[in-house]
C-alpha cells in the first residue's frame, strides 16, 4: 500500500515535559489507523503537531513523499489534513452551515444560501439529524460532534484525523460514523483514529500504532494483535484485573444504613425521581445519552435550580438547593464536562486540589500555603498524578490527570457521598482502571458513590445497583444477578422483562 503520510523522529517539548521523543508514524492510503496510548502518551500532541496547532521541535513530515512543513492549522488544511478533535472546537453561536464552512471560503464570498444548501446535502448524505440553519449550540453534543466530522469530511481531505470522535456518540451514531469511515477508506482516504474504546478499534481499524510516555512502542496489524496484548503494550504491564474487580454480596448491602434519600426530587432540568444510596454503596445511573442521568445527579448536588422534593441525609431532612449546601452535607460531585465544569485551567494543580475544601472552610479561613502544598503533594502521590510540579497550571495536564486532580479535590473534602459523572470519559485504560479501583476502595471505607459511565461494562464492574433511565424517567433498577449487559440493554430499550423484575 502506498504511504500518504510519514512522520519521522518527531520531537515536541513543553516546559518541564518531553511530550514526544522521536516518534515515527506512517499512514497508508485507504486505511483506518488507530493511534493508541494512555493519557499523556503523546497521542494528542502528535495530532496537534500534524495539524499545525503545535510546532514540532524536531523531526520531519512527508506527505505523499514530499517533505512539508506545517506552520499553522491553515497549512494543514491546505495540505489536505483535516481533524475532528476530542473536545468540540466549533462555535456554538454560529449555525451548522456557518460552522461547516467557516475559515475556508476560498477567497470569493460564498453566498450564505448557497452554502446552507450544500451543508444540507452533506448532512443528509451522512444522515446527521440537523438543519444547516440551526444554531449549533442548540444541537445535542453528539450532533455537534457529527457536524464537526461532516465539516472535516467535506474538506476533500487526504488525511482525516478523528480524535476521540465517539466518546459522546451512542451506539447507533457510532455505527453511522463507522460506515462513513469505511466508505471514506474505500475512496482512498487515510484515517487516523484516536480512541479509548478498544472494541471500536477492533471493529473498524486496520492497523494500530501504540505510543507510551511520548515514545513509539510499535506498529501492528489489528488482526494480529490480541486485545489483551494491546492493553499490555499501552500501559506497559500485563493486565489481569480487567476481568472482574469485585463480587457483590447482596445481603451485606442491604444491612447498610441509608445515607441519602430523595423523594420526588426535581430540578429545572430533571423530572421528579426517587433515589437513595446506602453507606458504602456504589450505585449508578445508566441510560443513553440524554436519558436524564446527568441531570438527576445534578439535582442531587443542587447544581441546577432545584424545584421540589424532599431530601434526607442520615434520616434527617435537609435542604439542598445549591452546591455549597450539598458540600456542607458531605456530598461531592465530579461533573460530566471536565473542561467546562471541572478544572480551573489556568490555576495550578495545587490550587485546583484545595478549591472545594477551601470553599467549605469558608472565605475567611484560607488554607495556608504550606498546608495546601502538603495536601497537593499527598494527592499527587496517592492518585499518581503526572505533573511537572504542583504549581503547573492544571490545563496543561493530560485529560486523565486533570480528572485525577478533580478527584483529589473532592477526596480532600472527605465526602460521605461522592457523585462521579463520567469520570472515565476520554481518559486512558490505565487511569480508568485506577479510578474504578479507587471507587471500590472508597466504598470499602464507607463512602457512598454514585457512578455514571457511558461504558456499561465499567458500571457493571463497579456498581452493586444500577438505576436505569430512559427519556428523563427512571425505568428500572437492577441488582444482583440482573446486573449484566443483556439486562441493562433490555431495560434501556424498554423490555417488559426488566419492568416485571423491577416489581
Amino acid at each position: 500500500m502506498q504511504n500518504i503520510l510519514q512522520m519521522k523522529g518527531i520531537v515536541k517539548r513543553f516546559p518541564g515535559v518531553l511530550a514526544l521523543n522521536g516518534v515515527d508514524f506512517t499512514l497508508r492510503k485507504g486505511e483506518i489507523h488507530a493511534l493508541m496510548g494512555e493519557n499523556g502518551a503523546g497521542k494528542s500532541t502528535l495530532i496537534k503537531v500534524l495539524t499545525g496547532v503545535y510546532q514540532m521541535d524536531g523531526g520531519e513530515i512527508y506527505l505523499a513523499g514530499n517533505k512539508i512543513s506545517i506552520g499553522s492549522p491553515q497549512d494543514a488544511q491546505n495540505n489536505g489534513i483535516s481533524t475532528v478533535y476530542q473536545e468540540i472546537t466549533l462555535c456554538p453561536n454560529l449555525t451548522v452551515a456557518e460552522n461547516m464552512f467557516i475559515g475556508r471560503e476560498s477567497g470569493s464570498w460564498v453566498q450564505q444560501k448557497e452554502y446552507e444548501k450544500r451543508a444540507d446535502e452533506i448532512l443528509q448524505k451522512l444522515g446527521i439529524p440537523a438543519r444547516s440553519g440551526q444554531q449549533l449550540g442548540n444541537c445535542s453534543l453528539a450532533v455537534q460532534q457529527m457536524v464537526a466530522i461532516a465539516r472535516a469530511v467535506d474538506m476533500e481531505c487526504k488525511v482525516l484525523i478523528l480524535d476521540e470522535p465517539t466518546s459522546s456518540l451512542d451506539d447507533k451514531e457510532v455505527q453511522m460514523l463507522f460506515d462513513l469511515m469505511r466508505s471514506l477508506r474505500s475512496e482512498g482516504v487515510g484515517i487516523i483514529f484516536v480512541t479509548h474504546f478498544l472494541e471500536q478499534v477492533y471493529e473498524v481499524s486496520d492497523r494500530i500504532t501504540v505510543l507510551r510516555n511520548g515514545e513509539l512502542v510499535g506498529e501492528y496489524l489489528t488482526a494480529e494483535l490480541p486485545q489483551v496484548e494491546l492493553v499490555a503494550k499501552m500501559i506497559g504491564k500485563e493486565l489481569d484485573e480487567l476481568s472482574s474487580l469485585h463480587e457483590v454480596d447482596e445481603t451485606k448491602e442491604e444491612k447498610k444504613e441509608i445515607f441519602y434519600e430523595a423523594k420526588d426530587l426535581s430540578s429545572s432540568e430533571a423530572m421528579p425521581f426517587d433515589f437513595n444510596i446506602r453507606k458504602g454503596e456504589v450505585n449508578g445511573f445508566t441510560g443513553l445519552l440524554g436519558s436524564g442521568r446527568s441531570e438527576s445527579v445534578r439535582a442531587i448536588f443542587g447544581a441546577d435550580k432545584v424545584n421540589g422534593g424532599t431530601v434526607k441525609i442520615n434520616g434527617q431532612q435537609v435542604k439542598i438547593t445549591k452546591p455549597i449546601e450539598a458540600m456542607k452535607a458531605g456530598i461531592g460531585y465530579l461533573a460530566e464536562d471536565r473542561k467546562r465544569d471541572g478544572i480551573i485551567a489556568e490555576l495550578s494543580v495545587r490550587e485546583n486540589i484545595i478549591l472545594a475544601l477551601q470553599v467549605m472552610n469558608g472565605f475567611f479561613k484560607p488554607i495556608s500555603r504550606s498546608e495546601s502544598e502538603a495536601f497537593a503533594d499527598e494527592y499527587i502521590k496517592v492518585l499518581n498524578i503526572k505533573t511537572a510540579s504542583r504549581e503547573t497550571p492544571v490545563g496543561s495536564l493530560s485529560g486523565g490527570n486533570q480528572q485525577k486532580v478533580i478527584l483529589a479535590r473532592w477526596l480532600l473534602t472527605h465526602p460521605d457521598y461522592l457523585i462521579l459523572d463520567e469520570p472515565t470519559r476520554g481518559i486512558d485504560v490505565g487511569t480508568k482502571l485506577e479510578i474504578q479501583k479507587l471507587v471500590l476502595k472508597l466504598a470499602e471505607e464507607g463512602v457512598s458513590v454514585t457512578f455514571i459511565s457511558s461504558e456499561v461494562e465499567e458500571m457493571l464492574r463497579t456498581c452493586s445497583r444500577l438505576i436505569v433511565m430512559r427519556d428523563r424517567h427512571v425505568v428500572g433498577e437492577l441488582t444482583g444477578k440482573d446486573l449484566n449487559q443483556e439486562q441493562v440493554m433490555k431495560t434501556i430499550a424498554g423490555g417488559e422483562a426488566a419492568d416485571e423484575q423491577e416489581k
Partner: protein
C-alpha cells in the same frame, strides 16, 4: 540588556516580565538622555518641612491615585473579565463627598477628616455595588454597565459641589495631599503602600484571590465548587469602590480643591492600561496586583519623562499611546509564543545547556 538577563527574567518573573522590562527600558533611556533625571534632592518646603524632591519622587508620588485604582481594577478585571470605565467619574463623586463633608463641619480635625473619608468610601461603595449589581446579577458587560456612571458621574459630582469648585484649606488636608511634617516622603506614596499592604493582608486572611481567579477563569466550575460567583463579582466592584474613594480623596487633598470636571480625568484608560501592562489578562482570570502597580508607575514614568523632554503635553498622549501599544503588543500571547519559540531554538542549538526541565 544581555541575553542572560533576559532569560533570567523569563524564568523568574513570569507575568511581571513585561512591566519590569518596561521600567528598566525607561530607566536606561533616561540614563542615556540625562542622568540628572534621577537626581533626588532634599529641600525645605514652604511649610518648613524637610522633603524629598526630584523626578523619581514626582513619578512615584504622581502615580499614587493611578496605582490605587489599578489595584481595584485588577480585581474587577479578574473576577468579571471586563473593566470599570467609571472610576474617574466615581472618584470625582467620592472627592466631592469628601469636600462636602469637610465644608459642612465646624472645624477640620483628624476625626472630621476620617468621617469625610469614610463617607466618601460609603458613597463610592454604593456606586460600586450599583455597577457590580448590573454586572454580577444582571450579567451586563462591565464596560456597558459602567458606561452609565461614566456618563453621568461628573454631573452627580457637580450637584454635590453645588457648582463651582469648592476648596478646603487645612493643614491636615495639606498633610494628606503632600507631606506630613517630619516625614520627607510624600503622603500619597505612603497611602499607596498602606492600600497595597491592606490588600496583601486581605489576600492572606481570606480566600479572595483563589475565589476571584476561579470565578474569572471558569465561572461554571467555580459555582459547582460552591463559590458564590455573583457575590465575588459584586465584592470586586465594592473593593474597587474603596480604591476609588482613596484615589478621589488623595486627588482632592493634593490641591485642597475639587473640580468635578478635571479630577482624575481620563484616569480610567490609564488604569486599564496599568492592569494590562502589569501582564494581567483583560479577559479575567489569573492576576497579579504587583504587576498592575508597576504598570501604574510605568505610565507615570513615561509621562514625566516626556515632560522632562519638554514634549508638548498635547503630544504626550500620542507618544504615550505609541509606547503603550508597543508594550501591550509585546505582552500579547502571540508575541510571547514567538519569543518562547526563539529562546527554545537558541537553547536547542546550544548542546551544553540542558533542555529546560526535561526530567
Amino acid at each position: 540588556m544581555s541575553k542572560k538577563n533576559d532569560k533570567k527574567f523569563s524564568l523568574n518573573l513570569g507575568q511581571l516580565t513585561i512591566p519590569i522590562i518596561a521600567i528598566l527600558l525607561l530607566v536606561l533611556f533616561n540614563l542615556f538622555r540625562d542622568p540628572s533625571f534621577f537626581y533626588i534632592g532634599i529641600a525645605h518646603n514652604n511649610d518648613g518641612n524637610i522633603v524629598l524632591s526630584g523626578n523619581l519622587v514626582s513619578i512615584i508620588n504622581g502615580a499614587s491615585e493611578l496605582a490605587v485604582l489599578a489595584i481595584g481594577m485588577t480585581l474587577v478585571t479578574a473576577a468579571c473579565g471586563g473593566q470599570d470605565i467609571s472610576v474617574g467619574a466615581a472618584a470625582a463623586i467620592a472627592g466631592s463627598v469628601f469636600v462636602k463633608i469637610l465644608k459642612s463641619v465646624p472645624s477640620i480635625n483628624g476625626f472630621t477628616v476620617l468621617v469625610a473619608f469614610v463617607s466618601a468610601c460609603i458613597v463610592a461603595m454604593i456606586f460600586g455595588s450599583f455597577n457590580g449589581t448590573l454586572v454580577a446579577v444582571f450579567k451586563i458587560q462591565p464596560m456597558i454597565a459602567t458606561l452609565i456612571l461614566y456618563t453621568c458621574g461628573r454631573s452627580i459630582a457637580y450637584w454635590i459641589n453645588g457648582g463651582a469648585t469648592p476648596t478646603v484649606d487645612s493643614p491636615i488636608i495639606t498633610a494628606i495631599g503632600s507631606f506630613i511634617p517630619g516625614i520627607p516622603i510624600p503622603t500619597p506614596v505612603l497611602i499607596v503602600v498602606a492600600v497595597a499592604i491592606a490588600f496583601k493582608l486581605l489576600f492572606h486572611f481570606t480566600s479572595l484571590e483563589l475565589f476571584t481567579q476561579s470565578v474569572g477563569i471558569n465561572g461554571s466550575a467555580a459555582r459547582l465548587n460552591g463559590i458564590n460567583a455573583t457575590f465575588m463579582k459584586l465584592l470586586s466592584f465594592i473593593l474597587l469602590g474603596v480604591c476609588v474613594a482613596v484615589a478621589g480623596s488623595i486627588g482632592v487633598s493634593r490641591l485642597g480643591l475639587i473640580n468635578h470636571e478635571t479630577l482624575l480625568l481620563d484616569v480610567e484608560m490609564d488604569t486599564i492600561l496599568a492592569v494590562a501592562i502589569g501582564g494581567n489578562n483583560l479577559g479575567g482570570g489569573k492576576f497579579k496586583i504587583s504587576g498592575s502597580i508597576i504598570g501604574a508607575y510605568v505610565i507615570q514614568m513615561l509621562t514625566i519623562t516626556l515632560y522632562a523632554m519638554k514634549v508638548s503635553s498635547t503630544d504626550v498622549k500620542a507618544y504615550k499611546a505609541i509606547v503603550i501599544i508597543l508594550l501591550v503588543v509585546i505582552g500579547s500571547p502571540v508575541i510571547k509564543a514567538k519569543f518562547a519559540k526563539l529562546t527554545a531554538k537558541s537553547k536547542f542549538g546550544q548542546p551544553k545547556q540542558p533542555a529546560k526541565g526535561a526530567d
